[in-house]
C-alpha cells in the first residue's frame, strides 16, 4: 500500500516535469521524482518496529538480526541524495543563466533550437 503511495508521488513529479511551463517548476518536479525513489528505497529496508542497525557490544546476534532494519538502502539513499543535490544545483545554475539570456522562465519562449 505504502509502495503505491511512493509510486503516486513519483507520478506527481513526472506530471510536474511534463506539463509545467516554468523551468524552476520543472526542476522542482525532478526533485519530487527523485525523493519518491529515495523514499521507496528506505521503505524497502524498513520493518515495523525495527531498531537501528547498530549492534551493541555483547548483544545477541540473533536478536539483532531479528530487530534491525536493513542498513544498505540507507547508505544508498545518502549517496543518491548527494547526487540529487549536484543535479539540482547544476539545474538551478542553468535556470539563472537562462534567465539572464532570455529574460524569462517560460519554456515556451526559450526555443531557439528546432529541426
Amino acid at each position: 500500500m505504502v509502495y503505491i503511495l511512493c509510486f503516486v508521488l513519483f507520478l506527481v513529479g513526472l506530471y510536474c516535469v511534463l506539463t509545467k511551463k516554468n523551468i524552476v517548476k520543472i526542476v522542482i518536479g525532478l526533485g519530487i521524482m527523485e525523493y519518491a525513489v529515495n523514499l521507496f528505497l528506505v521503505l524497502l529496508g524498513y520493518r515495523r518496529g525495527g531498531g537501528a542497525p547498530i549492534r551493541e557490544p555483547g548483544g545477541d546476534p540473533l536478536e539483532f538480526l531479528a530487530t534491525a532494519v536493513d542498513p544498505l538502502p540507507q547508505a544508498l539513499v545518502l549517496t543518491s541524495i548527494v547526487i540529487g543535490l549536484g543535479v539540482t544545483a547544476l539545474a538551478i545554475a542553468l535556470c539563472v543563466r537562462l534567465y539572464e539570456k532570455y529574460g524569462t522562465f517560460d519554456v515556451t519562449e526559450i526555443r531557439r533550437l528546432k529541426g
Binding site: 538502502p73 549517496t79 547526487i83 549536484g86 543535479v87 535556470c95 543563466r97 537562462l98 531557439r112 529541426g115
Partner: protein, 506 residues
C-alpha cells in the same frame, strides 16, 4: 600486468581532474599537458590490459558484501575504445579551446566524464553503476552548456531534464531489483532471478531499465535531447558524447543487462530489434534534411546506434529462439564491431566539423563551399570518415554493416536486411551532400583567407583517419580472436557469466 591496476582507470582521471582544476588556473600550457598526459596514460593502460580477465573486489570484500569490478572481453573492448577516443579528443582540445577562457574547468569536467565512463564499464555492481553513470552524465550536462550562449544553455537544460528522468527511472529499477532479490551485485542478482522465472516485478524493472538507458542512448523515441545537445557542445565534446558517451551509458549497459542479468528471451530481443530499426530509419531521414553540419552528424548518431542495437538484438533473438548459434554470433559480432567503428568515424566527423567551424566561423552548409583547396587535410580525413559511415569498402563501417546485413539474411529476416541497406544508402546520400556543399563548389568571397587546422588538431584527425582505414584488419585472424570475439563471448555467456564471477570472486 594484472587486475590490481584496474582502480587506476578511475583514479587517474579523478586525480587529474582535481589537479587540473586546481593548478590549471595558473597556466594554460600546464592544463593542456596535464589533460593530455592523463588521457594518454589511460589509453596506453587500456591497451596493455587487453589480456586481463577476472574479478577485483574493492577493499577485499567478497561479493555480495562488497563492490566488485569484473573484467571480461566486452569490458576490455569498451575501455580501449573510450580511452583511445578521449585521448584524440584532448589532443584536439588544446588548440581548439584557445578561444574559451576557463580551460582548467573544461579539462576538469572532461576528465570527470572519462572517470565516470570507465567506472560504468568496469563495475559489476548495480548501485555503483548508477553512481558512475551520474558522474559521467552531470559532467556532460555541464560540458554541453560550456559556451554559455543562448542555444547551449537551452540544449543543456533539455538534456539535463531528460537525462535526470532517465537516471531516476534507472534508480527506481535498481531499487525494484534490490527489493526482489536482496542483492546489488550483478552476478548475484542474475543468479537469484534465474532461479525464479519472470514475475511482474522483474518485467516492470526491465521496462524502467529499457526506458532509462534508452534515454541515455538516445534511441528513438527517447531521442529528442540528442540533436540539440551534441551540436551545442564544443567539437571535441561532441566527439566524446556521440563517439563514446551514448555507447557506454546506453548501449553497453543495456546489452549487459539484457544478456548477463536478465537473460535475453524472444520478447526482450524483439523489443531491442524494434528500437534499433526505428532509430535507424527515423534518425537517417531526419538527418538528410539538415543544413547545420553538426546537427546532421548528431542525427546520424541516432541512426548508427540503431545499427548497433539491431545487431545485438538480432543476435539475442536468434540465440533465444533456437536459431543457428553461428548466425547469432555473427549478428552480435557485427553490432559490437559497429560500436567500435562508430566511435572512430563519428568522433572524426565531429572533429572535422570543429576544424571547419573554427576556420570559417560557421557550420551552416549553405554558407560553406570550396574548402577542399584551402583545407586539404580536413577534406581528406572528412572523406575517409564519410565513406566509413556510409559503408563503402574497404573502410571500417563497411565490414560491420556487411556482417549485420548478412546475419539478417541468414536469420531469414529479409525485411530487416532491406531496411538496413536502404538506411545505408540514405546515409551515403546525406554525406555526399556534406562533401558537395562543404568541400566542393566555389569558395565564397568571405572564406578566401581560410587556413588549415593547427598541428595538434590535424594530428588527432589523422590518427582517427588511420583507425577508420585500418580497423577492418581487426576481422583478420589473431586480431579478431584477441579483441572482438571475447567481447561477443562475454555477452553470449549470458547468465553463466554471473556464475563465473562468483566462482572467481573474493
Amino acid at each position: 600486468m594484472n587486475g590490481t591496476l584496474l582502480p587506476l582507470f578511475v583514479a587517474i582521471p579523478l586525480g587529474a581532474a582535481f589537479l587540473v582544476a586546481f593548478l590549471g588556473r595558473y597556466s594554460r600550457v600546464l592544463a593542456d599537458t596535464l589533460g593530455t598526459v592523463a588521457t594518454l596514460s589511460l589509453a596506453v593502460l587500456a591497451v596493455l590490459l587487453r589480456g586481463v580477465r577476472g574479478v577485483y573486489a574493492i577493499g577485499g570484500w567478497p561479493p555480495p558484501l562488497g563492490i566488485v569490478w569484473s573484467v571480461d572481453g566486452l569490458t576490455v573492448m569498451m575501455l580501449i575504445v573510450v580511452n583511445v577516443i578521449s585521448f584524440t579528443a584532448t589532443l584536439f582540445s588544446a588548440p581548439y579551446l584557445a578561444r574559451f577562457t576557463a580551460k582548467s574547468k573544461y579539462y576538469g569536467l572532461f576528465l570527470l566524464m572519462v572517470a565516470g565512463m570507465n567506472g560504468v564499464v568496469l563495475t559489476g555492481d548495480l548501485f555503483n553503476l548508477f553512481v558512475f553513470l551520474e558522474i559521467a552524465s552531470i559532467a556532460s550536462y555541464a560540458l554541453v552548456a560550456f559556451g554559455c550562449e543562448h542555444e547551449e544553455l537551452e540544449a543543456s537544460f533539455k538534456y539535463l531534464v531528460l537525462g535526470s528522468v532517465g537516471s531516476t527511472l534507472i534508480l527506481l529499477a535498481i531499487a525494484l531489483l534490490y527489493g526482489a532479490t536482496g542483492f546489488l551485485t550483478m552476478a548475484n542478482v542474475s543468479q537469484a532471478l534465474a532461479g525464479r522465472g519472470s514475475s511482474p516485478l522483474t518485467v516492470l524493472a526491465v521496462v524502467f531499465f529499457v526506458v532509462g538507458f534508452g534515454i541515455k542512448a538516445a534511441l528513438v523515441p527517447f531521442h529528442p535531447w540528442l540533436p540539440d545537445a551534441h551540436p551545442s557542445a564544443p567539437a571535441p565534446i561532441s566527439a566524446m558524447l556521440s563517439g563514446v558517451l551514448i555507447k557506454t551509458l546506453g548501449i553497453y549497459t543495456l546489452a549487459r543487462l539484457a544478456f548477463n542479468i536478465f537473460g535475453v528471451d524472444g520478447t526482450f530481443a524483439s523489443v531491442l530489434m524494434a528500437l534499433g530499426v526505428l532509430s535507424m530509419t527515423v534518425g537517417v531521414f531526419l538527418a538528410v534534411g539538415q543544413w547545420d553540419l553538426k546537427r546532421l552528424l548528431a542525427y546520424h548518431s541516432i541512426s548508427q546506434m540503431g545499427y548497433v542495437v539491431l545487431g545485438i538484438g538480432l543476435g539475442g533473438w536468434v540465440l533465444a529462439t533456437g536459431g543457428s548459434p553461428a548466425v547469432g554470433t555473427l549478428a552480435m559480432l557485427g553490432g559490437v564491431f559497429h560500436l567500435a567503428n562508430h566511435a572512430a568515424f563519428k568522433s572524426l566527423l565531429f572533429l572535422c566539423s570543429g576544424a571547419i567551424e573554427q576556420a570559417t566561423g560557421t557550420r551552416q552548409l549553405k554558407e560553406l563551399g570550396g574548402l577542399g583547396e584551402r583545407m586539404p587535410l580536413t577534406r581528406a580525413t572528412c572523406t575517409i570518415a564519410s565513406l566509413s559511415i556510409a559503408g563503402v569498402p574497404p573502410f571500417n563501417g563497411f565490414w560491420s554493416k556487411l556482417m549485420i546485413v548478412l546475419a539478417c539474411f541468414q536469420a531469414g529476416r529479409y525485411g530487416l536486411a532491406a531496411v538496413t541497406l536502404l538506411v545505408s544508402f540514405v546515409t551515403l546520400v546525406s554525406f555526399l551532400k556534406v562533401m558537395r556543399y562543404a568541400f566542393l563548389g566555389s569558395l565564397p568571397e568571405r572564406l578566401r583567407e581560410v587556413r588549415e587546422a593547427p598541428l595538434l588538431m590535424s594530428l588527432s584527425m589523422v590518427l582517427l583517419a588511420v583507425l577508420c582505414t585500418g580497423m577492418g584488419l581487426l576481422l583478420v585472424g589473431g586480431a579478431r580472436e584477441a579483441f572482438l570475439e571475447p567481447a561477443v563471448n562475454a555477452l553470449r555467456a549470458g547468465l553463466e557469466l554471473g556464475r563465473t564471477v562468483l566462482a572467481t570472486g573474493g
